[in-house]
Amino acid sequence: MYKPLARSEKLTVRQLPDETLVYDHQTNKGHCLNATAALVWKHCDGMATVAELARRIGQPAAVVELALEQLSRRGLLAKPAPALAGPARLARRNVLKKLAFAAALPLVLTITSRAAAQIGESGGICACTCFYDSDGNFSPPISYGFCKRGTCSCKACPATGPKDGNTVLPGHCPGAGER
């Protein structure tokens, strides 16, 4: 008998006004759990079956199953929830349709963070040094700038670069010129 257990490692959980935010440090993704999904997730202690969980939180089993499916798909359970077979799935859908107006259905939204989005980008991270102030005057040491995938992110430098046109410290941005 499947007894769901909430994953706890490498997760940060924060409460937002109407939902629970779970940040997965492994995938760099954030998951927003609505109140029903959060309730199910918090009760997944590995001791209760789906039916017992449903009783414990006062929700129909179909709602708990739907929540577990969503949580499992996002890696928020220690052990994935078993997938429902065709007829059982259909039956659950019918129940959920009837419940849709009476109960708050569980909902888990996944937000891809910046780091996760950047993993797929081309170019690497590199660094450059800048000893120029915002007016382009050599003024050591003001700020240390870095490149972001071929684009210099040094905010202290003027867009046109150093006033004297000199190269400052050895800095190399492998992505520069490639994009």
Binding site: T12, R14, L16, P17, L21, Y23, H25, N28, K29, G30, C32, L109, I111, S113, R114, A115, I125, C126, A127, C128, T129, C130, S134, D135, G136, P141, I142, S143, Y144, G145, F146, C147, K148, R149, T151, C152, S153, C154, K155, A156, C157, P158, A159, T160, G161, P162, K163, G165, N166, T167, V168, G171, H172, C173, A176, G177, R179
Partner: protein
């Protein structure tokens, strides 16, 4: 439904008191036209807290952006821990400026989006810190500062001695002392012409959450002109956002020209210092006189930024146009050198395909 509000005024209403644990009453549908401005200014989280339930669906983009900011903050905290740990292991006395050090004062995560990690180190450790961060995986997100530029009238030792250490999970993060932080936030705001509404919220939240033993005398001690700008920023937070700063020593009346300048920039959705607003360098417009006028107009200095940077006081007896002209002239003096460089075959910057962003070459 109420009449649509002027964008800057709508922003001001949405942000008034929004940083408090219990913000003022909900804002209305009339705010809808200001949504792009709320999103672009980073004020989406604060505004979302004040959207009434009955019209939440119309303002859904604010909620989505707020969720994104909350996730981004958790990610930022991870990076911050790694960066501070690396510097600490390298024996660097680092201080976190702005960013998370202010975001932590807001009642919920994600209300104050954090961008880069601004780290100040003692000037003599600057190069060493740079070497440590150069190979660090989070280097791209770090802005390293030698000393604290906006606290020029204090020594690094004084500032570092008054630092506070706050916990972030299992890590201790050194940040500015409360007095230095408030002064720094104020001067940073004014140096950049107060174009970003969230920076004024930062001042409001820092002022309202100051510790019981906050030393106003120390906060307001220093170069007189800078203290006046500090007081002016506090007055702005009180006037525009209803920040509660019940301290007789902090009383000041922000001049009208400053208030007008701020509201105008907020309405325009200004997104950077005046000379940075046109991403294409002026020298590239030089060969197209038709575009030059527009480019010059885009660069016309923000009144506050100009007055601050030419060394004037907020109570300057001169018309502000005088300071804008002085600042513009100072910048124009450097133009010939820029033109010469632009005429050279190899430009020290690259132009992206869209020409919407021009960035300096990193090997300079």
């Amino acid at each position: 439904m109420n009449a649509p509000l002027h964008a800057g005024a709508a922003l001001r209403i949405a942000l008034t008191g929004a940083w408090r644990k219990h913000p003022p009453g909900p804002i209305q549908e009339a705010m809808l036209p200001a949504m792009p401005l709320l999103l672009s200014s980073g004020a989406h989280g604060l505004a979302w807290r004040r959207i009434p339930r009955r019209c939440q669906s119309e303002f859904a983009p604010l909620r989505d952006a707020y969720r994104q900011s909350a996730v981004a903050q958790l990610e930022y905290e991870d990076r911050l821990r790694r960066v501070v740990d690396a510097l600490h292991r390298g024996g660097i006395d680092a201080l976190l400026l702005k960013g998370w050090s202010v975001a932590r004062l807001y009642p919920e995560i994600g209300l104050r989006p954090c961008g880069d990690i601004d780290i100040a180190v003692p000037p003599e450790q600057f190069e060493q810190a740079g070497r440590i961060l150069q190979d660090h995986p989070d280097a791209a997100e770090v802005d390293l500062h030698a000393g604290v530029a906006d606290l020029d009238d204090r020594t690094w030792d004084d500032v570092f001695q008054r630092r506070r250490v706050v916990r972030l999970g299992d890590m201790e993060i050194p940040i500015l002392g409360a007095e230095d932080q408030l002064r720094h936030l104020c001067l940073h705001l004014m140096r950049h012409g107060a174009f970003r509404p969230l920076w004024l919220c930062d001042i409001a939240v820092a002022a309202e959450s100051r510790p019981a033993d906050f030393d106003w005398d120390y906060c307001l001690h220093g170069e007189r002109r800078l203290t006046e700008w500090t007081l002016c920023a506090l007055a702005l937070a009180g006037k525009l956002l209803d920040a509660r700063i019940d301290e007789p020593r902090a009383q000041f009346t922000a001049p009208d020209w400053i208030i007008h300048s701020v509201l105008r920039d907020w309405s325009d959705g200004a997104s950077g210092d005046s000379h940075m607003r046109d991403p294409v360098p002026l020298v590239r417009h030089w060969r197209h006189p038709g575009r030059l006028l527009g480019a010059l107009r885009a660069r016309w200095p923000n009144a506050i930024e100009a007055a601050f940077k030419v060394g004037a006081s907020p109570r300057t007896p001169w018309p502000v146009l005088f300071h804008q002209l002085r600042y513009a002239a100072r910048r124009a003096v450097r133009l010939p050198a820029k033109v010469r460089r632009a005429s050279a075959p190899a430009l020290p910057f690259q132009v992206h395909e869209s020409e919407s962003a021009v960035t300096p070459a990193c090997s300079r």
